[in-house]
Symmetry: C2
Subunit: 123 residues, 2 copies
């Protein structure tokens, strides 16, 4: 009793996983090693990062290349399909620069304080 297959829905399913968009954005700038990527993503802990990268490899968006085991040296880079996510990131970029400005924290302001000024600037 599956629904019809909906590509957009599927895509959203994995894009909304925490850190995935950040990871993709980071990898669009070039291939990186694990720690390097971790730093550039910022805030994602290694356990989660490892899990996300595994998943992204499985679905074919990222490829992992191990250059040497000891000393460890690994590279994660986007596949062709992965690189095409650039359009998505670009769209987010355009929206963000058009609508977001410094000010209030965007992420989950605890709705308790006073009036809360929106981060969005009216068009």
């Amino acid at each position: 009793m599956e629904q019809e297959f909906c590509p957009v829905h599927e895509a959203i399913q994995f894009l909304q996983e925490k850190w995935v968009l950040h990871i993709v954005r980071s990898l669009l700038e070039g291939p990186r090693g694990f720690n390097d990527l971790s730093r550039s993503v910022g805030g994602c802990n290694p356990a989660t990062l490892a899990q996300r990268l595994d998943h992204l490899c499985e679905i074919g968006v990222v490829r992992k290349e191990v250059q040497s085991l000891m000393p460890p040296r690994t590279f994660y880079h986007l596949t062709g399909a992965g690189r095409e996510l650039q359009d998505v990131i670009a769209a987010i970029d355009r929206w963000a620069t058009a609508h977001l400005r410094p000010g209030v924290e965007l992420s989950h302001p605890v709705c308790g304080g006073g009036e809360l000024q929106s981060t969005i600037r009216p068009v």
Copy 2:
């Protein structure tokens, strides 16, 4: 010791919250009431949905309009800024139809089985 303000990063922060992209996509099709929206989003439970909608209202992407309290009748619709997220959804749509096809579940295949065929079709 704040980082420089980066709009894209901020945007990703809220877009990656679970269900947000689904909610936006759904609302792009037109305003909806709570249960209606819940059904169209599919799988998000009311507690989470209520929380997400609150947040989306706070940051100015969604507006809530209460038509009557009893019987309850509410409408959620995108603001101008919200509607402009259409470009983001459209980009996801394009990517998805180009790269995803029915087959394996995309969401978190437990990496234990045999060889796992990717849902992505090569270009």
